[in-house]
Symmetry: C2
Subunit: 468 residues, 2 copies
């Protein structure tokens, strides 16, 4: 083992092989403070060549490798187990934007670039990289790709997978695959790119990527709408797609309790509607023409929906600060729920046509099993993704309620499966949902996944114990 | 062997096991009449269950299987070799549209549905399935997915891969994987869907799919533009993306010779510009508002481009028949070139920023090696895909020229590779480009592809001799 560590030190420099407990601490702790792993060492290579050298060493010594970006994952995918036998390979020092090609609408970046860093650099050349999520200030693009991150603009621009044209990957035996192609069409063999994307570091380590860029919108129109049922929200989504087509970039659901928790714990944000409603929607249209045209489009949508009796009330932001207030209400839900106390979270997706029935049905099941449970239902309705969280009844002890987490997960995930949905819409599987996966995936699908894993990583050194 | 055939007959009915040479003929001949294979039998199962039964029989008897849709492929991917040891498994009888889900914007279809059939059924519910290509009246969606088909709307809507949410696949051991999920977000393990898409039937047989639908545009604005260089065309593309963003659905390049061949062989089509230009562009904007708004948008683009000296002349179609005339000019290029005589075709893609230099450089190389060669350069410039075809010099014999096919391919493909491009943008590899693949792919990429093939199809019975 000492020999292995010495070889690592020669490969990347002694200061980048972290052995000290304090130095290692931030790499070992998961972001939600639910688990902490142990590591033989934290390795911080400088570039792709060094990543390859380290992986070769690990392959030789059969040392498990946990690749890590910003360590902001929510499913315990980027920390090792507690055995202390694995190394963490941090990509943070691979943080260069290699090239922005304006005519090709692409950016070639190191895997360790922060998502926000990419957004900012691309913005400087008047373009847009549309991936956007709460942790964008600390997550890395390599992590975003390894988990196929989603976020608030999937409705219009797709997941991380759809925003990536090419990859550079270090394979499990330490070879470098240069697939950094900036091509919109390339039918030359199997789609390795999309196999590494979403594989959570279990098949290889993403070290670089070619990302798709888009024209930067010139303005945004933001509206908050109150609505009396999810079915009406789904009908409004169809209408919004018809009337606003590609300009519709966000369509977010907020249930009444979600909004009330925000107002309770963040009184600084302005209340929009005097009258309560069971659900609210946050809509955003990206405009490429004048601000007036964009406002007209959202006004037209709202008046058409009013006439069709789809919506109860609506408010259009008249200023950037009003728009920011709407977004703050949406983005503070998780924090507000956390301030209210511990709760049980689900990251699910459903066919949009099934969402209304799913919510009704599942709410009844939870109410029957755990009367008084408070449903904090919100999320990216436009792409079928709900954060379907459950808070304890007001009068009950949080820790007593949390003891029922497995039962509540079972109700929600069984119902999700029954309605044709996914038990992990955008967070991945990691170690947290590994057991769940075997419940909901067919044997044939699991067998195909295992065949890929064995083919790419026969010694099982790439992030072992995750996904499969 | 007789035993195998008898078991096939019991599985799907005697009339659907074609042994007769005349009956087999259309399945054996490739679409471009360049090659003809032989088959033990042509099997025509009725549904997914029957496909699975047949694959199980083939697995037991180690009989190679060539899955076939409309047999319109261009790379000899859907016909067997000449040994006569393989069966052709035709998906044509799996031709039901299973379900259209309007609220979810999806259609679930059998693999043997004709592309056009899907377009028409979806149109009836006022939605759009945007995949569109020349053979849409005879190709099947299973073939489109197996080859990750492209076509004229990739710029806006993506390839077949990006238009598919879920698959049903019969694996190499005859099991059915039901991955017919209609979800926009689903991060539960490896991306099997995108691995089967584009695998040309070498990993399994696609029997069904969930397709993404879009709002149907209410009108189209079509323009033909004359332009003096490819660099200006690329600059115009950037401008068009900025000004028209998602409304820009087609951006097609036509060089002077391409257009002249069309006018020579199809005199029924109207000439648009009196004055010749080295290049022309066909633009289409899909409108979701009024026709007037859409016309304004294309007029605004053209006047902005005129002021920037990017374009020489422009004509906007004033009627559907004028728009159809523009499209007929574009879509008759291949036929016109065929009427002119045999020629050497290339289906390449490049980073858009490299196209102008690539064309200049490659034209010089071909002119030096084969003086007088006539370049028929056209294609989907908006997504970097050129059909970079070479016709013989006017005075030379076509067959003498065709003898140099390998040398000309080498020049074009080496240059494509040098400029970061792909030697097969949208047609795939099949048997035709298998050798080429080993020249341009890195050993590590080939090795990863072979690992997948061995893992999924260890006995090599799924379309052997294709891709790898």
């Amino acid at each position: 083992m000492q020999n292995f560590l010495n070889l690592c030190k020669s490969a990347i420099g002694e200061e980048y092989v972290l052995l000290d407990e304090d130095q290692q601490a931030p790499y070992l702790q998961d972001w939600r403070q639910r688990a902490r792993g142990n590591a033989l060492a934290v390795l911080r290579p400088a570039d792709t060549e060094q990543v390859a050298q380290l992986v070769k060493l690990c392959a030789t010594f059969k040392i498990p490798i946990v690749a890590q970006g910003g360590n902001t994952g929510l499913v315990l995918g980027s920390i090792p187990d507690q055995s202390g036998t694995a190394v963490i390979l941090s990509l943070q020092r691979l943080n260069k934007i290699r090239h922005i090609d304006i005519a090709n609408s692409t950016a070639t970046v190191d895997a360790g670039c922060l998502l926000q860093q990419i957004q900012i650099e691309v913005d400087k050349v008047d373009m847009l990289f549309p991936l956007s999520l709460a942790s964008e200030g600390s997550c890395t693009i390599g992590g975003n790709l390894s988990t196929n991150a989603g976020g608030t603009a999937v409705l219009r621009y797709g997941n991380a997978r759809e925003l990536c044209l090419g990859l550079e990957v270090v394979t499990a035996n330490g070879e470098i695959w240069n697939g950094l192609r900036g091509l919109r069409k390339d039918n030359t063999g199997y789609d390795l790119r999309d196999l590494f994307i979403g594989a959570e570091g279990t098949l290889g380590i993403i070290t670089g990527a070619v990302l798709k860029l888009f024209p930067k919108p010139s303005n945004f129109a933001t509206g908050l709408i109150s609505i009396d049922s999810i079915q009406h929200a789904v009908d409004l989504l169809s209408l919004a797609k018809q009337l606003c087509h590609a300009n519709l970039t966000s369509f977010e659901l907020i249930n009444h309790l979600s909004l009330e928790l925000v107002h309770k714990h963040f009184p600084q944000y302005q209340r929009i509607f005097a009258k309560a409603s069971p659900f609210y929607l946050l809509l955003e249209l990206s405009g490429f023409g004048t601000e007036e045209q964009n406002t007209q489009q959202i006004e037209n949508l709202i008046s058409t929906a009013m006439e069709a009796d789809l919506i109860v009330d609506a408010a259009i932001a008249n200023s950037i600060s009003q728009a920011n207030n709407c977004w703050a209400l949406r983005e503070s839900i998780s924090s507000a729920q956390a301030k209210e106390g511990k709760n049980i979270k689900h990251d699910i997706s459903l066919p949009i046509s099934a969402i209304a029935d799913f919510v009704k049905d599942t709410n009844i099941c939870i109410e029957n099993a755990f009367p008084g449970s408070r449903m904090v239902t919100f999320g990216h309705l436009g792409d079928g993704n709900l954060h379907f969280n459950v808070s304890p009844p007001t009068q009950s002890e949080h820790k007593d309620f949390l003891a029922h987490q497995a039962e509540i997960n079972r109700i929600v995930h069984d119902k999700t499966h029954q309605y044709g949905g996914s038990i992990s819409a955008e967070h991945g599987i990691g170690a947290l949902k590994k057991q769940e996966l075997t419940r909901y995936k067919s044997p044939v699908e699991l067998q195909l996944m295992r065949a890929i894993k064995s083919a790419f990583d026969p010694d099982n050194i790439m992030n072992p114990g995750k996904i499969l």
